[in-house]
């Protein structure tokens, strides 16, 4: 058995989805944690310092490459699996079986697509100006100085981006999609890597729902905090 055979079988493809999914879950924790510093109410200093660390330190930059790789892998594999699975039943049922599974478990590709659309807007809003600002026609971010170090003023950028109510609505809706994607994805990822027996069942299920509610809620509160001026 080669590694290629192993990861291209039906179970192997799911292992790829599960492992990349768990990596993305870990990323969400880091992302939500760092972004929560906007609520420090210090004019964005702590947040911009955190952003500066993530942008200037080698470790997060290397992890960032892995993150992009894993996101692509998760998206492409997800679409391929969906298309392949759909092709396995040439003639469909007249009456669909809905009671045995949750709607969001059956709609992971749709929810994922909504998250992808958001992701494109999100990268355009923050990642591109932060990383590629100043190159060609890409607008550079404003800066703030702290102890002689120039920091990208991502906080000010958030304040600008989230004055647009449509952007705020898009972000909040995307958090809804993320919540349902995680409601299935969290448990499913652990089932896929084999962690789902009597001992872990209850803890994985409750952690999964807890995570699916808490993380998207934190994220949704960020654009809302700027839009409604809850932070100074």
């Amino acid at each position: 058995m080669t590694f290629k055979q192993m990861f291209t079988s039906s179970v192997g493809k799911k292992l790829v989805m599960g492992f990349t999914g768990i990596f993305l879950i870990l990323f969400l924790i880091v992302h939500a944690g760092l972004n929560a510093t906007i609520w420090a109410n210090d004019g964005g200093l702590m947040f911009n310092k955190a952003g500066h660390f993530m942008g200037s330190n080698a470790v997060p930059r290397v992890l960032e490459i892995g993150l992009f790789l894993f996101i692509f892998l998760h998206i492409i594999q997800g679409y391929l699996l969906t298309l392949e699975n759909k092709s396995k039943r040439a003639v469909g049922y007249a009456v669909t079986y809905k009671d045995g599974s949750k709607w969001y478990s059956r709609s992971m590709a749709l929810l994922g697509t909504l998250i992808l659309l958001f992701l494109i807007a999100h990268i355009y809003h923050f990642w591109t100006p932060s990383r590629l600002g100043g190159i060609a026609n890409i607008k550079a971010l404003g800066e703030m100085e702290h102890n002689g170090v120039k920091l990208h003023n991502l906080y000010a950028e958030m304040d600008i981006v989230f004055t647009n109510p449509y952007v705020v609505i898009l972000y909040v809706l995307a958090c809804g999609s993320l919540a349902y994607h995680l409601a299935h994805g969290f448990q499913s990822a652990f089932k896929t890597i084999g962690v789902y027996n009597k001992r872990y069942q209850a803890i994985i299920t409750s952690m999964g729902y807890g995570f699916a509610i808490l993380i998207p809620l934190l994220f949704a509160l960020m654009p809302l905090s700027f839009y409604f001026d809850w932070i100074k």
Binding site: S9, R89, G100, S101, G194
Partner: protein, 253 residues
């Protein structure tokens, strides 16, 4: 007795063979008793069709005791009909109301080609079993049942997995037409026992390879299989299968 009988409209999938396209045909059946099983109701329909000079509806059945796994039928949008932990042959007509329309479809999956009407070819399951769902170690004469100690928990879990009758309802229920619940039951049943330990790695690898070759879809853990399984095979078997596969895939030559 009139209060215990009912008249029904049946929307039945009729298809001559795998190479033709099928369609629904509607039939009326009258005087169906509440005590009848679903298959007895279909017998009555077929007798009527034969008397009228028509072609009877082909459907699979054998023991009619809920243990052989031969009956199928996707009834009103659920494999084996509305009851939980139940096979079609054990579904009784009291599950339906007088005047109701019942939609009867075959298991639908490319890997289960239609033989005729509601009968599908489930030999793909046989070939998956042939790929590794057995113990080939020469065990000699039958030994005393207690000479090989097995933990009670493991024996129970193995037995629960061995309950699978291979009817294919899991494939029929799954939006991906995946056979993972079936496969995981067969792999778990043997992986939990010392007799199955010798061929543990090659078994899971070969059976997954055969499942893919048969053209079943990949599992996305929606849980529809578990919800419809007449023997209530747990989805935790799928997690066990995944772990078995990961371990075997990483350590096999």
């Amino acid at each position: 007795m009139s209060q215990n009988t009912m008249n029904l409209k049946l929307k039945v999938w009729r298809q001559k063979n795998a190479n033709t396209t099928g369609a629904f045909v509607t039939y009326d059946v009258a005087g169906i008793s509440h005590e009848m099983s679903f298959l007895e109701m279909l017998d009555i329909l077929n007798e009527k069709l034969i008397v009228d000079g028509g072609e009877p509806v082909a459907f699979d059945h054998d023991c009619r005791e809920g243990i052989c796994g031969m009956c199928s039928l996707y009834i009103n949008g659920k494999p084996h009909g509305p009851w939980q932990a139940n096979t079609t042959c054990q579904l009784h007509m009291r599950a339906f109301k007088d005047g109701e329309t019942i939609v009867i479809e075959p298991w639908r999956a490319n890997s289960f080609p239609i033989v005729k009407d509601l009968t599908v070819d489930r030999s793909a399951f046989d070939r998956i079993i042939q790929a590794g769902g057995y113990v080939s170690v020469n065990t000699g004469n039958a030994v005393d049942g207690n000479s090989l100690p097995i933990e009670k928990d493991k024996a129970d879990a193995s037995f629960a997995a061995a309950m699978c009758i291979g009817c294919g309802a899991c494939v029929a229920a799954c939006k991906n037409s995946s056979a993972m619940l079936f496969l995981s039951a067969k792999v778990s049943h043997l992986a939990l026992l010392p007799q199955g330990a010798i061929e543990r790695k090659s078994r899971v690898l070969n059976m997954v390879a055969q499942m893919d070759k048969e053209g079943f879809g990949a599992c996305t853990n929606t849980g529809a299989c578990e919800a419809t399984c007449p023997k209530e095979i747990s989805i935790s078997n799928i997690a066990r299968l995944n772990l078995e596969y990961l371990g075997a895939g990483l350590t096999a030559e």
